[in-house]
Amino acid sequence: MNELLLGLADDELIIGWRDSEWTGIAPMLEEDVAFSSIAQNEIGHARAVYELLTDDADALALDREPAEYRCAPLVELRLLDWAHAIARRWLYEQADEIRISALREDGDARIAGLAAKINREEAYHRMHAEMWHERLRDELRFRDAVAELWPYALGVLPPAQRGELASRTGLAEVGAVERGTHTDDLAQLWDEMTMVRRSQPAGTQW
């Protein structure tokens, strides 16, 4: 299986899950709507990429053990603070744009076509992140959150693409929190995310 695509799909699924946790409790109604919509898009991207890899996207998304997921630790973190939530969105979208741009040049037309489609939707996520970054970038609390999450953000990308992320964000490259290891937060998320699936026999229709 294509490890790069599986990592991308897992990232989108898990960050979509994390973003959806703000539904109903974001600091303002507009952000309830924004985070919910972004989450919906990210999970839609995950599904489309899983479908490139398998005939049963739900099985691939939900029937693995936590250790088998290929997501980057950045997306797993349970962030209860708005500054951290926005710092992650901003860092994640910057990294995501770099890898999606590369996939648009892929030799496989299905991958390149899907990447182009995803990029059209992500443009709106990037605008949302940019708007918040402009608003918060001089706030100490936000800068601390960015600094704390920066090694995780580097881990979203393979080493060859990290220099570009550093130059885009204006942050110095440091040691990355690498994909392949998992944080303790993933187990709790996985338990909740797969609960319904595990409680029903395979093949249950909704």
């Binding site: 839609g44 599904r47 990029n119 709106y124």
Partner: protein
């Protein structure tokens, strides 16, 4: 059965979330092929995470089956659908229902400064004195704007 009959039947299917417009108006049906009682429809989603995707697929299958043919609906997840594919009739139906139709797609991705500019027209009074309230709205395909002339909030179709 001819492809024209299938297109006409598909034109009766309303968008599940914006029922004023049909799937044909929306431009999401890329092709219809008829072969010996077998109808293949290629369909491009608006947004990949659109929750109405399954409902649209089922509606198309039922419509084709209702014509007495064997349906095959293929979902094509590439960049071939754009809001530019919404038909002129579809754009007019959107506008009269209070949804501002999307701006044309440009070569580069849309930018925040564009959304924050006053280039978007209120579907109620026609003024461009409108401001961005939220990039996101009730469905992934829409943003929220506010018209400062007639003091009416409205939904703006995103350009994709």
């Amino acid at each position: 059965m001819t492809a024209e009959q299938v297109w006409a039947a598909l034109d009766e299917i309303a968008d599940p979330e914006i029922p004023v417009i049909s799937l044909v108006d929306l431009g999401v049906i890329r092709s219809v092929d008829v072969h010996d009682g077998h109808v293949r429809v290629e369909f491009t989603p608006t947004f990949l995470g659109c929750p109405a995707l399954e409902a649209m697929k089922t509606a198309m299958e039922e419509k084709v089956a209702g014509l007495g043919a064997e349906p095959e609906v293929r979902v094509i997840s590439d960049d071939s659908w754009s809001t530019d594919r919404i038909t002129p009739a579809g754009r007019e139906k959107l506008r009269t229902a209070g949804f501002a139709p999307p701006a044309p797609r440009e070569a580069s991705a849309p930018q925040l400064v564009q959304l924050q500019s006053k280039a978007f027209r209120c579907p109620y009074c026609g003024s461009t004195e409108t401001k961005l309230e939220n990039i996101f709205g009730p469905t992934p395909c829409r943003s929220l704007r506010y018209c400062e002339s007639c003091r009416q909030p409205f939904e703006q179709f995103k350009t994709i």
